[in-house]
Amino acid sequence: MVQINLPKNSEVTKGKYYQDKTGSKNLRKVNVYRWDPSTEENPRLDSYEVDMDNCPSKVLDILNKIKNEIDPTLAYRRSCAHGVCGSCAMNMGGKNGLACTTPHAEIDGDIDIYPLPHLKVKRDLIGDLDGLYKQYQSIEPWLKNNSTKEKTEIVQSKEERSKLDGAYECIMCACCSTSCPSYWWNGDKYLGPAVLLQAYRWIIDSRDEEREERLKKVADELKLYRCHTILNCTNACPKGLNPAKAIAELKKMIATANV
């Protein structure tokens, strides 16, 4: 169901204001979504004044700076800091992306940082992605080939392999799925761009033998057709992939009975 307003317990209140203590002239205000599961309070938006003279170029650097120098209670996921692991996916300046690859110079005015949209928050910037992982599991993202008992390799030509380009690079950071309004409001049934891109990746794999079953599975009304080409997904993808195009290709395969 389309639900524009947030539930009562999710409304964001005004939080604390952390004034700069370094005396720097080059300050930026950073507003960060905070929620502490140990209290009964609503989420709040804390503001930090951050000294930009001593801060590297990415949004993750700002968060590290806040955690190390201003407020150690801030919680967020991060790991590789090179746009490979997909841990630090969040909403910055109104757009999803990886904090480690998003330059803060690209965000005008105050830097607003929220968790990925429309997720149950576990704490601060950490959203609950269990639902998405379950859906990922439901498409059975592994090679299904009954002839694997043969001792020879399954040959794949260069052309067949090139079809996987733009699909296999996905790091499952969930930036795309959580940017999609259809997924916000139908996330229980609609698979969402991230999982559909992976479904597509296995459907077009020349070595996979269950193409037909896989297509039948995603053909169900809500699993696929809730995509209305809003294209938030493609806009959000930090790896420059195109889930919207993959979904369109899936629709086309089903429409033309090209199974």
Binding site: P7, N9, N42, S179, H228, I230, L231
Partner: protein, 127 residues
């Protein structure tokens, strides 16, 4: 157990861009058009009941408010039509590159106004 954790903000914070604007406008104009077509059908049916009805609606549509509504509907139809063409092309699997979607979205937005003016001018000449 029900998860009582808060829901992170979504539409409240997500930034709009051309494609999402065109997509939501496509839906809104779609609803407006269905209502408009229904009203036009009712209007046509009323003609069978005599010329008093015709005069009444004719007068309404020629008032300033009526003209505003007619122009609004012309825009709504223009937008829906162009946006539908964009969707058709996308359904064939073309035009999904980010730059292309921006350009085609802008074409729909500006084209709808252009088409409105064009239809308006055509209407004026025919009268």
């Amino acid at each position: 157990m029900e998860n009582k954790n808060p829901l992170s903000p979504h539409i409240q914070i997500y930034r709009w861009h051309i494609s999402s604007l065109v997509s939501i406008s496509h839906r809104i104009t779609g609803i407006i058009n269905i209502v408009a077509i229904t009203l036009i059908c009712i209007w046509v049916s009323l003609l069978t009941l005599g010329d008093a009805n015709y005069n009444f609606i004719n007068q309404f549509l020629n008032s300033i408010f009526g003209k505003f509504i007619v122009l609004g509907l012309v825009w709504s139809f223009s937008f829906q039509m162009l946006s539908e063409v964009r969707h058709l092309i996308m359904d064939m699997g073309y035009g999904f590159e980010l730059q292309t979607t921006r350009i085609s979205g802008l074409m729909v937005i500006f084209g709808s106004f252009l088409l409105t003016i064009l239809i308006y001018l055509m209407g004026k000449n025919f009268i």
